[in-house]
């Protein structure tokens, strides 16, 4: 299987830029790279979820265009999805052979014994003593992952070719011993298939892969054999070159005050453990970590959107227990989520409504909205933030991503009581100019005395935007670096604590 000159763009971002890779027979190919480097898009193209804008996909020497996942399956390409795609309410066998039951039906009736026998064949291949007739909902997550692999094998063999199995971050939910099992499965798979293995964790990739592509900014930054390189070399391939300091408005950074604003003490939840950190008035702290590091959940816990098992959250010296986002907002915490289109903005409503959504009190007189005051306030903000919109009544969905994000940020700016702002990859998907505007806005918010907890989209962003950088791995804080104009920590040092 091979990709030549593959290019794929989404609005505002070029996810793949002239990428050429090849997957050879009987090999385990590794893909590594930072968040947003293009790994996921590459996989989606390979498994038929997305089509290329330009460039070509070659399968066993001839050009192929997949009409969808099912079509890719028929051609022997199957993916194990990162988010689990198994249905809990049917049996393991049905999941493994979903859409592929063919021979197990006679006269339209299921022959369960035959279905179970066929599924069991694939389950035995992945080991883990899985039984075909088990209701899937009864399996623990690690075992479901094995079922996913069996499902991919079954789908891949529909094509009567040697299958290509794509594994997207398969280890993220596994414990160490389970990982070992998965690795031995992958090694066995190599005998009968090609495997593409995507991971954030460097050691894994080096341990299991025959060959590795390093991706950066939508392109391939290098290709190597694990035996020939050191981890340091891979790290520097992953991070690439410096961006100019002006881009991040570094001169606007104001020193933080010494008074703590937000303190987390041994905060523990389902995906994070004993997280302690302090953010002072006017300080920007970025929390760095790969996708499953638990950093998103820490941020959401502060905002009351995920439950906390133990530990404390202290705001301006007073202990708070945010039980819900509404509660957190009342306490003075704002949140800008990554999935802006899902969580942060109501796309069907217009700019004005979105701006005043969370704080109608700012544009009301008594219990009623005051249209004149609303128009005036919103107009001021639109001008101040340079939101490019034809009018206040333009629906949010007609704005570009950057302008949407400015409106979402402005929504929180309206609140004079705001004390903490949690930003979950606020610049993801934005173009360069819009990013710079958002950076400037973050600086302004910090200068107002807000404590900002930033989950940066890239390493550079996290380092350049913050006063301090904390790294997380597997749900725990693993490192702390002070950052500041002219005294930024080394990217490789930070990365090392994350992977």
């Amino acid at each position: 299987m091979e990709l030549r000159g593959a290019t794929k763009s989404f609005p505002g971002v070029r996810a793949l830029n002239d990428v050429s890779v090849e997957v050879r027979r009987h090999e385990v190919l590794g893909l590594i790279g930072e968040n947003g480097a293009g790994k996921s898009t590459l996989l989606k193209v390979l498994c038929g979820l997305q089509r290329l804008d330009s460039g070509s996909l070659l399968l066993r020497g001839s050009e192929a265009v997949f009409q969808g996942v099912a079509d890719a399956n028929r051609n022997g390409v199957a993916m194990v999805f990162q988010e689990q795609s198994l249905l809990e309410n049917i049996t393991v066998a049905e999941n493994v052979l979903l859409g592929n039951e063919g021979p197990s039906l006679r006269c339209g009736l299921y022959r369960w014994r035959d279905l179970n026998r066929r599924a069991q064949k694939y389950l035995d291949l992945v080991g883990g003593s899985l039984r075909a007739a088990t209701p899937t909902g009864r399996l623990p997550f690690a075992k479901r992952q094995m079922v996913e692999v069996a499902k991919a094998l079954a789908s891949g063999e529909r094509g009567h070719h040697e299958p290509v199995i794509l594994l997207d971050e398969p280890t993220s939910v596994l414990e160490h011993a389970e990982m070992e099992t998965l690795f031995s499965i992958v090694r066995e798979l190599r005998e009968r298939a090609s495997v593409v293995f995507v991971s954030h964790r460097m050691e894994e990739v080096l341990a299991i892969c025959d060959r590795v592509y390093v991706m950066r900014d939508g392109g391939v930054a290098g290709e190597c054999r694990p035996a020939d390189v050191t981890t340091d070399q891979l790290f520097s391939m992953m991070v690439g070159q410096d961006l100019g300091a002006g881009y991040y408005h570094e001169s606007d950074q104001r020193p933080a005050q010494s008074r703590p604003r937000l303190e987390l003490g041994d905060l523990t939840g389902e995906t994070f453990h004993d997280v302690s950190l302090t953010i002072a008035h006017g300080e920007v702290v970025s929390l760095m970590g790969v996708q499953e590091s638990g950093r998103e959940d820490v941020a959401r816990a502060v905002f009351g959107a995920v439950p906390v098992r133990s530990g404390t959250i202290t705001l301006d010296g007073r202990r708070i227990r945010p039980r819900s986002p509404a509660h957190a907002v009342r306490a003075g915490i704002g949140y800008v989520p990554a999935e802006r289109k899902v969580d942060g903005a109501v796309l069907g409503m217009d700019v004005r409504e979105n701006l005043t959504l969370a704080h109608p009190g700012q544009v009301s007189r008594g219990p009623l909205l005051d249209p004149a005051r609303e128009r005036h306030t919103v107009g001021e903000w639109i001008e101040d933030l340079r939101v490019r919109t034809p009018s206040q009544h333009t629906p949010m969905r007609d704005l570009s991503g950057g302008n949407q994000q400015k409106v979402v940020l402005a929504k929180w700016l309206l609140d004079p009581e705001l004390r903490v702002l949690v930003l979950d990859t606020p610049t993801r998907g934005l173009d360069v100019g819009a990013k710079a505007d958002v950076y400037a806005l973050i600086r302004r918010l910090a200068a107002r005395g807000l404590a900002v907890l930033l989950l940066a989209d890239t390493l550079d962003e996290g380092i350049a935007m913050s006063h301090r950088v904390l790294t997380m791995k597997d749900g725990r804080i693993t490192g702390e670096f002070t950052s500041g104009a002219g005294a930024r920590p080394q990217r490789t040092d930070v990365l090392e604590r994350m992977v």
Binding site: G68, E101, Y110, S129, L139
Partner: protein
């Protein structure tokens, strides 16, 4: 859980209950298995237990037969409805569909309004009318992607309208005695409609367990996205579920017509509540993906038994309705209790 340490037993975990390698899930045991309607059966047992003290005649063969007879029509309705609900939809049109099918059936067997006499084929015609109304709903839901809630409110009225047209001035009275005997004639102590209902439930169970349509109902209800990614023609299956629900509503109408002897616009009145409440109490999730035909059958019997028990206990009819409502709301809250936490903002 380390797979390397997991026992390599060759047993079916369903036979032994919770296996050793399952994650602890409090509350799960209490709610029982999802493949068998244990909770609803316990409710049924509870009703029987309470009634054995309050009014022992509840458990007399005669009364149990009456409960079975009253359950027959809603049970048939519930079989078709179950598949719609398994896929995460809803069919509110039952009463309207039944009205149209009842009139159709009554006017096509020997009756006092016209000279047509198709004999038992009239039942098939009633089912066909129901299926047709179901097809309208199915097409709107499947092809036009309109929410089933509003579509079936519409087809409900369409059914009622058709029935009114057919009704004319006087109710058509069925004169075909063999048709009426279908409902009344007792075999092994139970009237015909109970046997028909049992046959339909058995057919529904086979459909659910052994056909693509049935299995994919669970898949679609569990995750439409996964279903689409697996190349399953989701829309066609959705539409088919509405056709099936329409057909069973048609059959139910024919059964009710045979029992009462007249074609009646109001033949289904009150049955929508009993049926949907029965499906929910049985443990079929309104969100789709869980439950099944047997669940619905037990749920319907529970609803009928509650109504019957309250009559025998001498509860005022005003209170009876309120109690039934409370039971439904409670049951719906309980079945979705576990899902409640999952609805929280992201995991």
């Amino acid at each position: 859980m380390k797979p390397t340490l997991a026992p390599a037993g060759h047993h079916d975990p369903r036979a032994t209950g919770r296996g050793a390698d399952e994650p602890a899930r409090p509350g799960r045991a209490a709610l029982g298995s999802h493949t068998f309607p244990t909770p609803a059966l316990s409710v049924l047992a509870l009703i029987a237990l309470v009634m054995s003290f309050v009014n022992p005649s509840f458990l007399s063969p005669g009364n149990l037969g009456a409960v079975a007879e009253q359950s027959a029509v809603p049970a048939v309705l519930a079989v078709g409805l179950t598949f719609v609900i398994l896929m995460g939809g809803i069919d509110l049109s039952l009463e309207g569909t039944m009205a149209a099918a009842s009139l159709t059936t009554a006017l096509l067997v020997a009756n006092d309004r016209n000279t047509i006499d198709l004999g038992l084929w009239a039942i098939a015609a009633g089912c066909a009318v129901g299926a047709l109304i179901g097809l309208v709903a199915g097409a709107a839901v499947g092809l036009l992607r309109v929410p089933s809630f509003i579509v079936t409110i519409g087809t409900w009225q369409i059914g009622l309208g058709v029935a009114q047209l057919l009704f004319g001035d006087t109710p058509p009275r069925v004169t075909d005695e063999s048709f009426r005997a279908l409902a009344d004639h007792k075999t092994a102590g139970l009237p015909g409609i109970v046997w028909i209902a049992l046959l339909v439930v058995a057919a529904g169970w086979t459909l659910q367990r052994y056909t693509r349509f049935g299995r994919y109902a669970y898949v679609i209800g569990g995750s439409e996205e996964t279903a689409l990614l697996s190349g399953i023609p989701v829309r066609a299956y959705r539409a088919a579920a509405f056709v099936l629900a329409g057909a069973t509503a048609g059959l139910a109408a024919a059964m009710a017509t045979a029992r009462s002897g007249v074609g009646d616009v109001g033949i289904g009145t009150g049955l929508l509540f009993t049926t949907i409440a029965g499906v929910v109490i049985g443990g079929t999730f309104l969100t789709g993906g869980r439950g099944g035909v047997l669940h619905s059958l037990v749920g319907v019997v529970v609803m009928v038994a509650i109504a019957n028990a309250m009559v025998l206990a001498g509860v005022s009819s005003y209170i009876q309705q309120t109690v039934q409502g409370v039971v439904v709301v409670t049951a719906a809250s309980l079945t979705l209790w576990r899902a409640r936490r999952r609805l929280r903002v992201i995991k």
